[in-house]
């Protein structure tokens, strides 16, 4: 694989959660997780709840430290980056947009604060201009969201603003941890299409974490299937979801409800 193309590499990533001081118990969060994300690629991490998807995301975001294993970003260990510098490159959208905002501040401040992470110092007029054009580019009407408080916006709008924030910062990798699970079906497609557009136009890489196979199939280039903390299968989307090799993947795919077909019960 071309080293220039690889943005993020996870190598034998393991996380053991321990509890108890004297009789310490260990719970496997993730074990020997190895996968790569290339530039301009959307990789989906799928699995049931408790399979370790979010543990991997948190380790990439440096929110928890791996027990063993390395994460390389642009070929360098992520722990060697300055935190500020790292978060300039890697940003996230969380599952729950409603709790990601400080309810006391207007949206303007959230977006304005994003400029502090940038290297170039713009004057406030220039900042406003960039904010507006960024909002427009992701399909939000600046007049509708600027000057408002988070509670006045819908879940879909809030998620889009988080995306706008990471665009202003100019991040290279977006970690999206179940970004659509709290959004209605009718607006969900909009978020997915937005991520696809950003990938096409700006070459953004996305690690998309979901338990929804349909969404993963729609959005991804490659799929990583996890079970109980381990990667059981990974590969291009059309291979993993059309001709699954692992028995767990097969079982998982068989239990996904489909729109135009009914299940056969055996």
């Amino acid at each position: 694989m071309n080293a220039d193309k690889v943005l993020l590499q996870c190598k034998n990533l393991t996380k053991m959660y321990s509890s108890g001081l004297i009789r310490t118990k260990f719970v496997v969060g993730a074990q020997n997780v190895t996968f790569d994300i290339e530039r301009g690629e959307i990789v989906s991490l799928v699995g049931e709840s408790g399979s370790g998807k979010s543990t991997v995301a948190k380790m990439i975001l440096r929110l928890i430290e791996p027990t063993s294993g390395d994460i390389l970003f642009n070929g360098k260990n992520i722990l060697s980056y300055d935190k500020r510098d790292y978060y300039r490159r890697v940003q996230t959208i969380f599952q729950d947009p409603y709790s990601a905002y400080n309810p006391f501040y207007k949206i303007d401040r959230v977006l304005d604060k994003a400029f502090d992470l940038r290297n170039d110092h713009h004057l406030s007029d220039k900042r406003k201009e960039i904010t507006k054009s960024t909002l427009k580019s992701i399909g939000l009407n600046p007049g509708e969201v600027l000057g408002r408080y988070p509670h006045q916006l819908s879940g879909g709008q809030m998620q889009r603003i988080l995306v706008a924030r990471s665009l202003i910062i100019g991040s290279e990798l977006l970690i999206a941890d179940e970004p659509t699970s709290m959004i209605d079906a009718s607006t969900r497609a909009g978020i997915l299409n937005l991520l696809l557009n950003l990938k096409k136009e700006k070459g953004l890489s996305v690690l998309f974490i979901t338990h929804d196979i349909g969404q993963a199939q729609y959005i991804s280039d490659r799929i990583v299937v996890m079970k109980k903390g381990e990667v059981v299968e990974q590969g291009p989307v059309d291979e993993v979801f059309v001709n699954p090799k692992n028995s767990y993947t097969k079982e998982l795919l068989a239990s996904v409800p489909r729109l135009y077909e009914k299940w056969e019960y055996t």
Partner: protein, 325 residues
């Protein structure tokens, strides 16, 4: 005339509080025959759960019944004595399983003690312990649970099992109608499938006759419903057989909803992009005049802005659509 198991006519239920009046359910008519599984779909905030709470006969404090009729097996539940409602209708004829009900098990009681409490409360006398446990064990078996579940505490069970225990308890008296609100929304795909299968088994075993299944997830409704109603902003916009709704949606809202569903296709990636419905669900405190969908509707005409569309029967009366097509 055929007697329907559940008959809802022009039902109105509003939330009243310091925040004003929220028109949760605003003139809904629906019928459900014996032996049918009816799905109710829509976005969050469209009034699906409000409708279920009204059908349950005991709406939460701020929700008020404002008119219309609900007949459950011939009982007009808002015009009969509360005691008759409690003893004759609830559990015997109709059971309601609310959303997130799996958290309603008592965490400090074993499942068996909880069931004994429920039986005691309903029958008014202390039941024989062995008899109840035998009955409960047999009953849970129909849902695919082993009888050791009875000796466990709720926290020792998985989400899917707890959900099935709750459904088991609410169907102990073999109700004719089960009203169930989002039973699978907190579950994984694999336990979701098991859940739906055990609901179908329950019907097969003639524990329940019919079901009103509420979910925002059309793909899972698809797996078990015979008919489906699509709700938008406190009103039902379309009803009809499940297959027809999926394959040939008539109302513009249903069309939008179906085209925005992301579903897994085992033959490869779907052709054609997904479309989302522009705009967002209106606030139920001041719903738009005329057709409630007109601000988001791609086919809106002048008349839609002022006049509420009538319910039209289509395809030999099998389907009903509220739109000026």
């Amino acid at each position: 005339m055929v007697k329907h198991l559940l008959e809802i006519e022009e039902l109105k239920g509003y939330y009243r509080g310091t925040f004003g009046v929220v028109f949760g359910v605003d003139g809904v008519s629906l019928t459900l025959d014996s032996g049918e599984i009816m799905g109710l779909a829509g976005e969050s905030g469209c009034g699906k759960s409000t409708l279920a709470e009204l059908v349950s006969g005991s709406p939460p404090p701020l929700l008020h019944y404002e008119g219309g009729k609900i007949l459950v097996d011939g009982f007009d539940i808002y015009h009969i004595d509360r005691e008759v409602l409690r003893t004759e209708v609830k559990c015997k004829r109709m059971s309601y399983v609310p959303q997130a009900s799996m958290e309603s098990l008592n965490p400090v009681k074993r499942i068996r003690d909880f069931i004994i409490d429920v039986v005691k409360e309903r029958t008014g006398k202390k039941p024989s312990r062995e008899k109840v446990l035998k009955m409960a064990g047999d009953h849970l078996k129909k849902l695919g649970l082993e009888s050791w579940v009875l000796n466990r505490y709720p926290l020792e069970l998985s989400g899917g099992m707890k959900q099935r225990v709750v459904i088991g308890i609410s169907t102990l008296w073999n109700p004719k109608l089960l009203v169930i609100d989002e039973p699978t929304s907190a579950l994984d795909v694999t336990s979701q499938k098991r859940m739906i299968k055990s609901l179908l088994d329950l019907k097969q075993a003639e524990v329940i006759e019919s079901m009103l299944y509420i979910s925002h997830d059309i793909t899972s409704l698809r797996q078990l419903c015979d008919r489906c109603a699509i709700m938008y902003c406190g009103k039902i916009v379309e009803t009809g057989p499940m297959d027809d709704i999926i394959n040939n949606p008539l109302h513009p809202y249903t069309q939008g909803l179906i085209s925005s569903v992301v579903s897994y296709d085992p033959t490869g990636r779907q052709k054609g992009g997904l479309k989302s419905i522009p705009g967002e669900h209106p606030d139920l405190r001041n719903p738009p005049p005329g057709c409630r969908f007109h601000p988001r509707c791609p086919k809106a005409k002048e008349i839609c802005k002022t006049t509420e569309p009538p319910v039209i029967k289509a395809e030999k009366g099998k389907r009903e659509v509220a739109c000026f097509l």
